[in-house]
């Protein structure tokens, strides 16, 4: 077998390469030839094909994602924006926080445990790569029908994988979601988010500058993971006899990753690192081309120096391998010794594999021969950009016309009571502690709030009490009815959750999960959702700092509901004033903030009682969301409320039930004038929250709401051991608890 060197490629222009098998389109391959002025070598083709994939190049989504950069709200918190491994925001007192959400959907369907585990591993490396110590993770999940046998395979595995990896890494899991819907049956969504904290001066970027600086690969050895494509390249074109037995599934090694975190942070602390990049999708191809293209010069890499787990790997495979738990650092020559010492201290394998050059080429060598010679920018940044056609689906009007407000409502108080129980016991509304109890939420000793609170909250400074909060939300049912509003409702809910716990919403990360971009219906959903989110962020003043796009979540013609998952990060100057959801003091007054309208489109009630999805989602009023957030934060600051819980799917009754169960006390509710009991309990109007106010603060609180123009309605009092809706029904808390807490263990334990 002859090595396909650059020289060889130039001399043999007519050799056929398996570009189609590697996922490139004909025009894309032609573009590569044009860029290089010759045919690519096998190694170059490997690099272009992975870097120009949908996953790495965002070729279908780019034209839309630009809006996040264009519609940027005036917000001086943003320190690093879109384009880096993760965005960074200023949270005060010299601290910066980085956070991001990513998807690991498909791998988690194939191998739930390892797929989900390596998803956590990947997002955490993005956080380390920014210079931060990871301090928490979150896991927004979407699964198929709760009663489907395959869900019993996927969910327990996913949960065990997220726990297995995150627990072993020592990262508290402080939030997430679990939503079931048949639309996710063959395409479960496993999104994972992470937060990291650093001092401003510790921010690191993925760039290789300074000719002569060394490129160090450290962490796990490189194996044949995730290189199906490259194996084709190796076997079909260059060596037909070679067995292409390469694993499609990666196995995570959280212990290795823990060592990686500690040794990287130690190197940062000693200021040894000029630039850094994690190895995720596209492995070394991505790390070298991105580091080089973001830096000032070129880069030269000796592939023979990469430590291998499998000595039969070809150079193409080494370049494409997605072996987990690896990082790449750029270090000045004088500091290499110390860097390697730190790696050794932590038993982490580290190897100098190349150096920054003063040229502008990325050159990669194998057995002394040059097998890659490219302008790294053409690999990392000049990928194809598609203007995919999109159009409002023909079925959209009919879907919206199928009005949920016209569904049969409970005929009497008994039926109402029954539906309340049914709602709180439905898999989507039921308690998720069977899941969250498999996650360590206490490790690191800074967890202020975790599930089932509205947001997860972490203290970042023990002396001052400075903390951050995070919430993630995304209602695919709303987004299906109207993707523009659906995206804004996801943003609004996440924003409201952060504010309800007393923190000030600051910035956004998102994970956009959609079907195939080649379907104009899906592309329209995507375009609308991005437009909605960008407009919403502009209005709320919370910039999008980064995120992830996951497309092709569909089986045959059937796409998942458009599912934009939005994470909002907030800051709280002193975690001592956080607001929990629990009703804990008898006699405290319950107030409903915001307005309740007859809004049942996409609601939990319409799903649980009628198995219906149609009509319009709730109205969005972001001005109102802002006002509500301000009131919730002021009330927390001035000690006017003891509990707050945002209202979302399931409406008021769901929120009250959760707050009662959390605090172990009941509530007596009075249906306000102008509302019927059904609408009061089940409507999903946005921009609302329920708060518990100590009697001594009642006047001050209602005056504040009045003065600022936020509708506020007294709806009852914390009392007894039942949820009583006056004039309608009484539900003993024990009965509510049994219904709410029994479902998920009943299905999956």
């Amino acid at each position: 077998m002859t090595l396909d060197t650059v020289k060889h490629a130039a001399e043999t222009p007519d050799v056929k390469l398996p570009w189609a098998e590697l996922g490139l389109k004909e025009d894309e391959y032609e573009r590569v030839r044009e860029i290089l002025g010759r045919r690519p070598t096998g190694a170059e083709l490997a690099m272009y094909s992975v870097m120009w994939s949908e996953h790495c190049s965002y070729k279908s989504s780019k034209v839309h994602l630009r809006q996040f950069g264009e519609k940027v709200p005036a917000n001086d918190a943003m320190l690093v924006g879109i384009g880096e491994n993760a965005g960074v925001v200023d949270v005060g007192q010299g601290y910066a926080v980085t956070f991001k959400v990513e998807s690991h959907n498909h791998p988690s369907y194939v191998e739930p445990y390892q797929g989900a585990a390596t998803g956590v591993g990947g997002i955490v490396r993005d956080i380390i790569a920014m210079g931060a110590r990871p301090v928490a993770v979150v896991d927004p999940l979407r699964m198929g029908d709760a009663h489907h046998p395959d869900t019993k395979r996927v969910l327990p595995g996913v949960v065990a994988g997220i726990g297995g990896y995150g627990n072993c890494l020592g990262l508290p899991n402080i939030g997430g979601e679990l939503v079931f819907d048949a639309c996710y049956q063959g395409n479960p969504l496993v999104n994972a988010g992470a937060i990291g904290v650093m001092r401003h001066e510790d921010i690191h970027l993925a760039k290789a500058s300074g000719p002569g600086n060394k490129v160090i690969l450290y962490g796990a050895r490189t194996g044949g993971d995730g290189i199906g494509g490259a194996s084709i390249l190796a076997s079909e074109t260059f060596d037909d006899t070679k067995p292409s037995k390469r694993p499609a599934v990666q196995v995570g090694d959280p212990f290795q990753e823990k060592l990686l975190i500690e040794c990287t942070l130690e190197a940062f602390a000693e200021k040894l690192v000029v630039g850094i990049q994690d190895l995720g999708a596209a492995g070394l191809s991505c790390a070298t081309s991105e580091l080089a293209s973001n830096g000032s010069g070129g880069m030269r890499v000796e592939l023979d120096d990469v430590p291998l787990r499998d000595s039969t790997l070809t150079p193409e495979e080494i370049l494409m391998s997605e072996s987990q738990e690896r990082m790449c650092a750029v270090v000045e020559p004088g500091k290499v010794g110390r860097f390697l010492e730190i790696c050794e201290k932590w038993d982490v394998i580290a190897t100098v594999v190349g150096e920054v050059t003063d040229g502008d080429r990325l050159e990669i060598f194998w057995h002394g021969e040059k097998i890659v010679d490219v302008d790294p920018r053409t690999v990392a940044h000049d990928g194809p950009v598609y203007e995919r056609p999109y159009a409002r689906p023909q079925w959209q009007d009919a879907l919206q016309a199928d009005d949920a407000n016209k569904l049969a409502r409970p005929a009497d108080a008994d039926e109402l009571r029954e539906q309340v129980l049914k709602l709180v016991a439905a898999p989507n509304q039921a308690a998720k502690s069977w899941v969250t109890d498999q996650y360590d939420r206490f490790v690191q000793g800074n967890t202020v709030l975790a599930q089932p609170e509205d947001s997860g909250m972490i203290r970042i400074n023990e002396e001052t009490g400075l903390g951050v909060a995070i919430a993630t939300d995304g209602n695919g049912r709303y987004a299906k009815l109207d993707p523009y509003k659906g995206a804004q409702l996801a943003l609004a809910e996440s924003y409201r959750n952060v504010a309800a716990s007393g923190a000030k919403p600051l910035a956004v990360s998102d994970c956009l999960n959609f079907g195939s971009p080649e379907d104009p219906d899906v592309m329209w959903q995507f375009a609308e959702a991005v437009r909605g989110l960008a407009d919403g962020c502009l209005e709320l003043g919370t910039p999008v700092t980064g995120g992830n796009v996951s497309l092709y979540n569909q089986t045959g013609e059937a796409a998942i509901h458009p599912t934009p998952v939005v994470a909002v990060l907030g800051v709280i100057d002193d975690v001592a004033r956080r607001t929990p959801i629990a009703f804990k003091e008898e006699g405290q007054l319950l107030y409903l903030l915001g307005e309740t309208r007859e809004e049942f489109g996409g609601s939990a009630w319409s799903q649980v009682v009628h198995d219906h999805l149609g009509g319009l989602p709730p109205e969005v009023d972001l001005g109102r969301e802002k006002l509500l957030a301000e009131i919730l934060i002021s009330a927390s600051r001035d000690g006017m409320i003891d509990a707050a819980h945002d209202l979302s799917d399931g409406g008021l009754v769901q929120a009250v039930a959760e707050s009662c169960l959390r605090g172990g006390l009941g509530a007596r509710l009075i249906v306000p004038d102008g509302l019927d009991a059904f609408t009061f309990l089940f409507s999903e109007s946005a921009g609302r929250a329920v708060v518990a106010v100590p009697r001594s603060e009642e006047l001050r609180f209602t005056d504040m709401c009045g003065a600022r123009g936020l509708p506020v309605t007294r709806i009852g009092v914390v009392d007894g051991d039942a949820i009583e809706v006056q004039g309608a029904f009484t539900l003993p808390l024990s009965e509510v608890r049994e219904a709410h807490e029994g479902t998920i263990p009943g299905l999956f334990a």
């Binding site: 065990a160 726990g163 297995g164 627990n167 072993c168 890494l169 020592g170 090694d253 959280p254 212990f255 290795q256 823990k258 060592l259 201290k345 932590w346 038993d347 969250t436 109890d437 498999q438 996650y439 360590d440 939420r441 206490f442 490790v443 690191q444 000793g445 800074n446 967890t447 202020v448 203290r459 023990e462 009490g465 975690v575 001592a576 334990a749």
Partner: protein, 226 residues
């Protein structure tokens, strides 16, 4: 004068920084100890904190047990130095045979993280003097290999000698025999338990309780008055 309490870090230890914080909150000085280092830096007591040392890949605690630092800890523990093993630390202590028995996978096979009620059965150990025997406390529990097991003879001996230091209340979380959550050696200087007192020393974080602080104040008083 205050006491110097060493907190060991193995590769994969997770709760070392929390344990150092708990030591400080109690008013003692926390001294980080490194697994490759035999030197105990003249500490007065040692805590082996929780986590997944070496990923718990062979068996929880099995690989760390052979570290240089443990050679010294074993030697000193036998000479009477107070040693507390929390969770993974407890597992290490059973692997070294400083404490009898062993840990199995939880009977339900899941990692479990929850607030756990315990009864302090013995206030005669170096780490529990600030509690009273029979006192009920509530601290976080979080593990997957937390099912305590030992043969009947050992269990009977532990009971007879009053060496069951903590017992689970309100439901056994993992199938541990005789609801055992923690035990002590004969001399009372070496104590191991699965739940995490270091996560319950401040009202604002964790479960919001401070029921775990007594471990650290117990040892501090003992050392300072000694």
């Amino acid at each position: 004068m205050t006491a110097r309490i060493g907190v060991v870090t193995f590769p994969g230890t997770l709760d070392d920084r929390d344990t150092q914080r708990a030591v400080r909150v109690a008013g003692a000085e926390a001294v980080p100890l490194w697994h490759k280092d035999k030197d105990l830096k003249q500490v007065d007591a040692v805590v082996l904190p929780g986590g997944f040392s070496y990923g718990d890949y062979l068996r929880a605690g099995a690989i760390s047990r052979f570290s240089p630092v443990m050679e010294s800890v074993i030697e000193q523990a036998k000479a009477g130095m107070p040693v507390l093993g929390i969770c993974n630390g407890f597992q290490v202590l059973t692997e070294t045979h400083l404490l009898p028995g062993a840990m199995l996978r939880n009977n339900h096979l899941h990692f479990i993280c929850r607030e756990q009620k315990l009864r302090v059965e013995s206030d005669r150990t170096a780490w529990t003097a600030d509690y009273t025997a029979g006192q009920e406390i509530s601290i976080p529990l979080k593990n997957i290999d937390g099912q305590y097991t030992a043969d009947e003879r050992t269990l009977d001996m532990l009971e007879a000698e009053g060496r069951v230091a903590f017992r689970y209340l309100d439901g056994n979380p993992n199938g541990s025999l005789r609801d055992i959550a923690g035990i002590t050696n004969e001399a009372g200087n070496v104590v191991g338990l699965m739940p995490h007192p270091e996560h319950a020393v401040e009202p604002l974080v964790g479960t919001g309780r401070t029921d775990g602080l007594g471990f650290f104040t117990s040892i501090l008083k003992k050392l300072v008055t000694a």
